[in-house]
């Protein structure tokens, strides 16, 4: 019995960790190698993995996300939490595939009508609300408390002034200086961040492929 249990645990570890790690390494090594090859076979392999494997699996993962959303929404409707709002969400979600199924998704279809006259206006207005919150944050949080904060403030003020139509009234060197700040000190900091992210991504990718980084496998189970 004990032997059976240990064998079962071994198979479970294989399924949970070893096999995914091996697959991860195999696919990573294949695509890494293909990058340096120009042979037609290498190109075919690249195309197979990026189109057939990558995109199809990714599409399924998105569908899994949608199914999860539906399950949680139905659970909350049953519980009575924000019931009217949850029902509206669910109706919206179901309506889109139904409209697409009956009338298609082209040009002037009802599906596109909902997208253009319901989704786009609301989504862009939600984004537009940020204009007000940015204004409020400028008033409340943008204070020259220290020398670095003063630099932040000056850079922001220069940018805002140089990109307004006051540029015609202000001296030419004002806009030139704002542009210089953006193209040099500001760009230098952004470049350093970019290099830092690059180094981080590189090492993380290597750690993932070599099996040192295993957090993507989740917990022990």
């Amino acid at each position: 019995m004990g032997d059976y249990r240990s064998k079962f645990a071994m198979v479970e570890t294989m399924m949970n960790r070893r096999i995914p790690q091996m697959i991860c390494f195999a696919f990573g090594a294949a695509l890494f190698t293909v990058f340096f090859l120009s042979h037609p076979l290498a190109k075919d392999l690249n195309l197979t993995i990026t189109v057939d494997y990558w995109q199809i699996i990714f599409a399924f993962t998105l569908i899994v996300g949608v199914v999860s959303f539906v399950r949680i929404t139905i659970k909350n409707i049953k519980k009575g939490e924000d019931r009217p709002y949850r029902i509206v969400s669910l109706i919206g979600l179901i309506a889109m595939p139904v409209l697409a199924l009956i009338w298609g998704i082209r040009g002037d279809s009802p599906f596109m009508w909902v997208f253009e006259y319901v989704q786009v206006p609301m989504q862009s207005t939600v984004f537009a609300l940020l204009a007000f919150f940015v204004a409020s944050a400028s008033f409340r949080g943008f204070r020259a408390r220290s020398a670095p904060a003063a630099v932040l403030l000056i850079a922001a003020l220069l940018t805002l002034l140089s990109r307004s139509s006051l540029e015609g009234i202000l001296p030419v060197y004002f806009s030139d200086f704002a542009d210089w700040i953006r193209s040099n000190p500001s760009m230098a900091a952004r470049r350093a961040i970019l290099i830092g992210i690059g180094l981080g991504s590189l090492t993380t990718s290597l750690r993932v492929l070599l099996g040192i980084e295993r957090t993507w496998l989740g917990g022990e189970k």
Binding site: F35, K43, N46, L47, T50, V51, W54, Q55, F58, A59, L62, R106, G107, M112, F115, E116, Q119, V120, Q123, S124, V126, F127, A128, A131, F132, V134, A135, S136, S138, F139, R140, G141, F142, R143, A144, R145, L153, A156, L157, L160, L161, R163, S164, S165, L166, E167, G168, S175, D179, R182, S183, S186, M187, R190, R191, L194
Partner: protein, 277 residues
Amino acid sequence: MSATRSQPVFETRHLIFLSLFLIILVTMLIGYNPEIKVTSETQKVYDYIDSLPSGSVLIVSFDHEASSLPEIKPIALTVLRHAFSKDIKLIGTALLAEGTGVGYRLITETAKEYNKEYGQDFVYLGFKPQYIAAILSMGESIPDTYPEDYLDKPYFSNEMLKDIINYDDVAGVISIADGSLTTHWIEYGASRYNVNITAAVTAAMMTTYDPYIASNQLYAMFGGLRGAAEYEKLIDRGGAGKRGMLAQSVSHIYVIILIIIGNIMYFVQRKRRRGSK
């Protein structure tokens, strides 16, 4: 319920919000269009498209969501109008699902203005998920990535696509983006397949791409409503960019005033606190 009752009817933030709303409302009702200067970055994008011989093929990728449409639409329209007026053939793609519907609408409506024909002068391929995979696979084979176009027509049934297999057959890519997707065009498209990338982005993303401009990995970039207004001036055609410039400028000044008032209040309070110690 009691929590709702205890909330004041009017708070400081409401005053800030209302002032901004009224300022933009009034400036838009005035309808005055201030004169603006064309920056060198917008000029570079214009010169690039203008220098392409007629019949060249450009990929225009709608890499944005519906949320940024009010800012993206004027930017996209200027590029599309300029390209169609120069008889450049366009292939429309989208790397974000929401860009798909928007891109199709924009490209077909602009094409109508210039009497351009679908399949001959422009084609819309639509959306592919997982942007890195889409960019890489298009580098190998566009027809394999998009066996059919957005209208479900087979790829090669479109006359203008007969000789277009991968990035080697196009003059470049213009990424119309509101996020970091242009980065992937640069890192995977330009680095690996040497395709020329130009960006038309929202203003918030411009500083993100500055290092790529400085290193010549990104050929040119313009953006924001202000960029759209500058481009409208270059192609001599008014639009939402030009119409919005007074409101844009006044809103900047409003934010500057808020920052100054906020700082004055901070320093007065700090002086008082130090005085009382």
